[in-house]
Symmetry: C2
Subunit: 333 residues, 2 copies
């Protein structure tokens, strides 16, 4: 295993220390318990938005902490859920009196720990709502998940709920928006290579020289099938078909689209993927109204990509366009 | 070779088509000859700034086209210099009557072709100045280079010259700033793995399981030496020592720092690298006044990173902070 790390046990903390130093204008990192929080938290009268999950998916979630998006993020060890005490501390730190929304990817550990944290917070008098993100169409039930896994729609929900909270929407309305984004969104990923968890020291799974994993999870969980590597036009058609079979979008529909690299895929390839995606959608009379192309939800050093489509209406697009100032997303400020 | 591409011969054009579609609010791509240009070019009365080089280093250069940075970029085929006709067409497209600056990484093909383009443009009555970037301290002369290679200081020069041009500085003053940034900056890279050029189909070089290439070039050119892989704290100390040995920075000095991934290195690791770098600099009483951590100048799917330090004064920092709106760098707008 060749990685740019020191002791594999210290990866999360070492990396967070660098992250905090690099972005002290936007956020700070608390280390006991560990969470990333907006430098100006809590914002009085604003609904707080927090998320969290195992490390290894950067920039998710810490990279989305800042004005107009998350108020805090709880990172666990690599591919390991953060603990309820992290979530409780983060929730308390961002509560400005209007309650706090938890945006939770549907992995069993994350869901249980966020539930426990919500109970602890409510016992302290903090109002909490939760939105579960389960947008991955690849498989039903998986290694760490009952039901569908959470994937790229998480980024969309964090942006849109963050904008709604910044506008002053109340907790119920922000949570309802989060659920609507989840219901309107679908994702699917694929891997060219495995990731390698630092503490394990070897690849999570093995793929042949000309083999890919279609529908892979962001921890290297199995997807729908192994298949021969093919030109990208065919792979992206396959993924887009799977997404649209699960959630048909009518002629003239509009989407927010994301092509996210898995961590080791160069931008040159991700733009090529985006071109295929946009051509396919145009052929189906679906307009890409907004898009992200880059590394947004990753799986350590896995090569591959994931596609996310969220059906959008004027309200979602307007919230999407609101200003945001985070390490990984930034516009209008 | 597993990559997200179609025909290896079409990678540059396929990717540019996606890039153009994704960023049509900022720029457009002309395909005959190929160049990326600001949507609103030429800007009357403003010095135009262009750069270019082989593809495979994304987001460099096309990702830096936009308000406050480059007016145009000329991409060649992967790791291949663009041609003089591309540069000439791009220069003509961005000339707003105040002349055009060419920012050229020091690779023999790029330098010759930009020289030829400058002559063609001057024959058409367009005033051209050139700045050569040669910041890589690793080696003197290399596979594609007489003298030192151009590396991450290119990004710094593009940002600072772009800001100066946006302020209305004249061509001579913008070029002088570009030369000052180059003289004030140094870089060094390292590789954990080789890149694979699509048309070649196999890795450019081979590294052992526990071996790294210290001082690698962004086309996989040999560095200073192969050495055993070590904890990142030691590798970054080695690189920082090499940079500061070449250009000592006095106590109390300030720098703009960049940690750029080579393309396949996750953000988790890049922030860890940044932490090591900042600690080392603090120990030497050098303050990091501004920083970039992410993928800015890459080498296809190579794993590894490069460090760039530019000594900064109030003028350079002020220009750095000016607004910029490009696909890859965005602030203040």
């Amino acid at each position: 295993m060749k990685k740019l790390i020191n002791d594999p046990q210290d990866v999360m903390r070492d990396s967070l220390a660098g992250f905090a130093a690099a972005h002290s204008d936007i956020l700070k990192v608390c280390f006991d318990p560990v969470y990333v929080v907006r430098a100006d938290a809590p914002v009085t009268g604003k609904v707080g938005i927090i998320s969290g999950g195992g490390s290894g998916h950067e920039p998710l979630h810490g990279g989305f902490v800042g004005q107009g998006m998350l108020d805090a993020a709880c990172p666990g060890q690599v591919f390991t859920s953060p603990s309820p005490d992290q979530m409780e501390a983060a929730t308390a730190a961002v509560d400005g009196g209007a309650g706090v929304l938890h945006i939770v990817k549907n992995y069993t550990g994350d869901v249980l720990n966020f539930e426990m944290a919500a109970e602890l917070c409510e016992a302290r008098g903090i109002q909490v709502e939760s939105v579960i993100i389960n947008d991955d169409v690849a498989v039903q039930d998986s290694l760490y998940t009952a039901g569908r896994r959470g994937l790229g729609v998480t980024v969309m929900a964090e942006k849109i709920c963050g904008a709604a909270a910044a506008r002053g929407y109340d907790l119920g309305r922000v949570a309802e928006l989060g659920r609507r984004v989840n219901e309107s969104g679908r994702s699917m990923g694929m891997a060219l290579t495995s990731c390698t968890v630092p503490a394990a020291g070897r690849p999570t799974f093995e793929l042949g020289e000309d083999e890919i994993e279609m529908g892979v999870g962001i921890h290297g969980e199995p997807g729908r099938k192994r298949m021969p590597h093919r030109p990208t036009s065919e792979l992206i058609a396959h993924m887009t078909d799977a997404i649209l079979a699960d959630q048909p979008i009518r002629d003239g529909g509009r989407v927010i689209a994301m092509v996210s690299g898995m961590g080791a895929t160069p931008l040159l390839e991700l733009y090529l993927v985006y071109r295929e995606l946009e051509q396919i959608l145009r052929g189906r009379k679906i307009a890409v109204s907004r898009r992200l192309v880059g590394n947004y939800i990753t799986s350590l050093d896995m090569a591959g990509c994931a596609i996310t489509l969220v059906q959008a209406d004027d309200e979602l697009l307007s919230l999407w366009d609101d200003p945001v100032l985070t390490p990984a997303l930034r516009w209008g400020i």
